[in-house]
């Protein structure tokens, strides 16, 4: 595997849209060619070389390309957007849309990420060692197809609107989340190991939400049915109170049985 190391120079005054910082775009390119890839600072078109020191060449394919991003990326958006394979490690905080519409590979952010990260994710792994802001693993505005596959693991807290319109894949949040979890959910799994304020599973028709802490205000559309033993995260077998919902919504049937969205609240 070839490693390309980018070091942010901090020369951007506005937010930098680094949508070409992906193993897909870097594959088969030398450091010089990578420096010529396009990016945007506000509405001005620029080249990656203007904003990053670039060291190392890309691998033959995306899968053998590793990107390490150093320096302050707090105002850099869209790292890893639409990537299909390979690996990115960002050693600082990142801005919005990091790992958005990701299809494969792995992105690790050692700091915090802003909103809309992991949006529309279809595959791969996205690890955030700090906190995530709003719309983590959600759908793009207006779209009814949110996250469909892959894994998002946030080791800190997440903000509002996690997993909106989720259809598949898994999101694990080690800390807390606030409002709106898995709104309009149609599949997939969300595990929140901390507490949630409220509006968990609103308009959800399918999918599973596990909460280890408290849900301060439960949605009125959910009904307690039984206690179950389940393994939300591998190797953690626990007992949960099982709720079904959202009872105000349409629900499909499979083999004569109605499919509901499920909330599992740790006992």
């Amino acid at each position: 595997m070839s490693t390309v190391t980018l070091t942010a120079k901090g020369t951007h005054e506005l937010y930098l849209e680094a949508y070409n910082v992906t193993p897909d775009a870097f594959a088969g390119k030398t450091a010089d060619e990578i420096a010529g890839l396009e990016c945007h600072e506000g509405n001005r078109k620029g080249k990656l070389g203007e904003y990053f020191d670039i060291d190392g060449n890309g691998g033959e394919t995306a899968a053998d390309t590793q990107i390490i991003v150093k320096g302050n990326c707090k105002k850099i958006k869209r790292i890893g957007q639409q990537m299909t394979a390979g690996e990115i490690i960002v050693e600082s905080d990142c801005d919005m849309y990091t790992a958005g519409w990701m299809k494969g590979g792995k992105v690790t952010v050692k700091g915090n990420v802003d909103s809309f990260c992991g949006i529309g994710m279809a595959g791969g792994e996205f690890i955030v060692e700090g906190n995530a802001q709003n719309y983590l693993g959600s759908a793009y505005r207006g779209d009814w197809r949110g996250m469909t596959g892959g894994l998002i693991h946030v080791k800190g807290n997440a903000g509002n609107d996690v997993a909106t319109f989720m259809r598949g894949g898994k999101i694990i949040i080690d800390g807390d989340a606030f409002l709106h979890v898995c709104t309009h959910g149609e599949g997939g799994t969300v595990v929140i190991k901390g507490n949630v304020e409220s509006r968990v599973g609103g308009q959800m028709v399918k999918g599973d939400i596990y909460v280890y802490g408290q849900i301060k205000y439960m949605m009125p559309g959910f009904k307690y049915v039984d206690d179950v033993e389940a393994e939300a995260v591998e190797g953690e077998k626990l007992t949960f109170a099982h709720y079904i919902g959202d009872l105000g919504e349409r629900h499909s049937k499979r083999k004569g049985e109605i499919i509901y969205g499920n909330i599992y609240l740790k006992k």
Partner: protein, 569 residues
């Protein structure tokens, strides 16, 4: 303005009967002239290329409030699908509900010069005209929707044809409209009561009139006035299995009605998006093609025309004044839904829809569209549309042309379907060997629509004296490409598009814009005190706007090009 000679191209112009002959075409002062009349103009070498008149789209939802709600409602339609601007053009956004600029440029790249906006809610006509102004290059006309209009329901119920004609003329003037559009006659009004009209004999609640009476009355009104376009109908019962019987009943209403106009039009009823109305079977499970039954009738009756509404198997946005249908669609796919009632006049609904090639019903719909065009005997009466964006975006016309011109292209797709055996069993497409010619494509995309809309003296032809709207495609009729993809490519991006004598597209890139026009029908009728009183009364009693604010102001109209009709005798 430069003059041009287009040399050595293979010319296809059904309105003058030119079938692929090598012919030079001259452009002088924005008009088409004999090549010998051009002195010292620029020469365009069209050898090995196909030359046609600018395309004419008879049915597209390209401007207006409905389209705009679609744009607002579907930000995801723009995601990763925008073109950055080139040169002095504007940014283009969106796929199924493109921005106004994207619409104008994309049509120009395909060689089109005239669009007929298929459904203008009269009350919202100012919005329609503002969007017409903002859609570059192409000339646009808009048809006000009338099939559920309270005035017309009352006049036609009482068989007051002259009053109905006077009101229609007033409405065309007030909205700067082009012709009479009729959507789900009676059914959209019934929707206000939570009901629908699914046959032509279902009475409309309160008004106690049937769809059959509405359609027949509107056809008679249209011929009484002598409008350029015939009645443009979206019949009842759209999109339901077994609806071909309703379609045949509607088409039969035209029997015995004769065209009366001075615009060279010889049909009295245009059935739009016939594909949505040619369904056999009783449920979605035994759904099958009814195209043969419908086309047997259409081929035998020469006073009706239709456009197809080809399903292109894309993700798109459906939008129609057929409110009940959109509600029905929302209950099928559970996606977002917008719906509105336009007081006294019409309604509309919008639902995103994915025509998925892994779904049997969508594939059958796709096949039905192609069957209709392949079964047609007279392509002057069979027009190419996708009912943009209902069955697919207009940017897919080149793909439809590929399927029509290449059996291999459509067979390859047909056999790649997940349920291909079931689709083949429910349709006739696989057994059809016909491949349409460039001449037939020219009939379907310019000559036929222009004649049917009565605008063939201005659009859709290369006759000397008409506006120099010309499309030059990089396709050689003597050496048709073996790879069908090249047909699609050639029709997607013209080698050159001329609009009013200005070269607007070169090698598939928009290089210039040119003044564009709003086409409307200015009908003079005798003074009619009854209708004037009715209009004042209805506005005072029911409308939420005043009469003086209802009409399209002159400043809303962009470059009007009026078609004069004198119906005072």
């Amino acid at each position: 303005m430069s003059d041009y000679i287009i040399k050595n191209g293979f010319v296809f112009d059904p309105l003058t009967g030119i079938k692929g002959d090598k012919k030079d075409i001259g452009i002088k002062d924005g008009k088409i002239v004999e090549a010998s009349e051009v002195k010292g103009g620029k020469t365009i070498d069209a050898s090995g290329k196909t030359v046609m008149a600018g395309g004419v789209d008879i049915h597209t939802h390209c401007v207006g409030p409905k389209v705009n709600v679609g744009r607002l409602m579907r930000p995801e339609d723009k995601l990763f699908r925008s073109r950055t601007k080139v040169g002095n053009t504007r940014v283009e956004m969106g796929f199924s509900v493109p921005s106004t600029f994207a619409t104008g440029y994309a049509y120009a790249r395909m060689g089109y010069s005239f669009l007929n906006e298929a459904a203008m809610p009269p009350l919202h006509a100012p919005h329609v005209h503002e969007e017409i102004r903002d859609t570059p290059i192409v000339d646009i006309a808009a048809m006000p929707v009338m099939g559920n209009n309270w005035f017309q329901l009352e006049y036609l119920k009482n068989r007051e044809l002259e009053n109905n004609a006077a009101y229609t003329a007033w409405l065309l003037n007030a909205t700067k409209g082009f012709g009479i559009k009729c959507v789900n006659p009676g059914g959209t009004e019934a929707w206000g009561w939570g009901m629908n009209c699914t046959t032509i004999h279902d009475p409309v609640p309160y008004f106690d009139i049937t769809p059959a009476e509405i359609v027949k009355g509107q056809m008679e009104t249209n011929e009484l006035l002598g409008l350029p376009h015939c009645l443009h109908v979206h019949p009842n019962n759209l999109g339901n299995p077994g609806n071909y019987t309703t379609t045949l009943d509607t088409l039969k209403l035209a029997e015995g009605i004769k065209p009366n106009n001075k615009f060279g039009r010889d049909v009295v009823l245009h059935n739009t998006h016939l594909q949505f109305h040619s369904y056999d079977g009783t449920t979605w499970a035994d759904f099958e093609s009814g195209s043969k039954k419908v086309m047997d009738y259409v081929n035998a009756h020469d006073n009706i025309s239709f456009d197809v509404g080809f399903v292109t198997l894309d993700e798109t946005t459906t939008m129609t004044a057929d409110g009940p249908f959109e509600f029905h669609l929302n209950r099928l796919n559970n996606l977002k839904w917008a719906n509105t009632d336009v007081e006294l006049e019409t309604a509309a609904g919008i639902v995103p829809y994915v025509y998925d090639k892994n779904i049997k019903v969508c594939d059958i719909q796709w096949a039905i569209g192609l069957e209709l065009a392949l079964l047609a005997k007279d392509h002057m009466r069979c027009h190419l549309t996708t009912d943009h964006p209902n069955a697919g975006p207009f940017t897919r016309y080149p793909r439809v042309i590929k399927w029509l011109m290449s059996k291999k292209a459509r067979d390859d797709l047909l056999h790649s379907f997940k349920w291909s055996e079931k689709v083949i069993a429910a349709t006739q497409l696989e057994s059809m060997d016909r491949e349409l010619s460039l001449y037939e494509i020219a009939q379907m995309t310019r000559a036929g629509p222009a004649k049917c809309m009565g605008i063939s003296n201005m659009y859709g032809s290369l006759k000397e004296g008409t506006n120099a709207n010309i499309a030059i495609y990089d396709i050689n009729p003597e050496k048709m490409p073996k790879d069908p993809e090249l047909i699609e490519k050639a029709f997607s991006e013209t080698a050159y598009t001329f609009k009013d004598g200005v070269m607007v597209v070169e090698n598939g890139v928009v290089i210039a814009t040119t003044p564009k026009y709003t086409v409307w029908t200015d009908v003079k009728v005798k003074e009619n005190a009854i209708v004037e009183r009715d209009i004042h009364e209805k506005f005072a009693k029911y409308y939420s706007v005043g009469l003086e604010n209802y009409k399209v102001f002159d400043e809303h109209m962009h470059n009007p090009r009026a078609i004069e009709v004198d119906a005072t005798n």
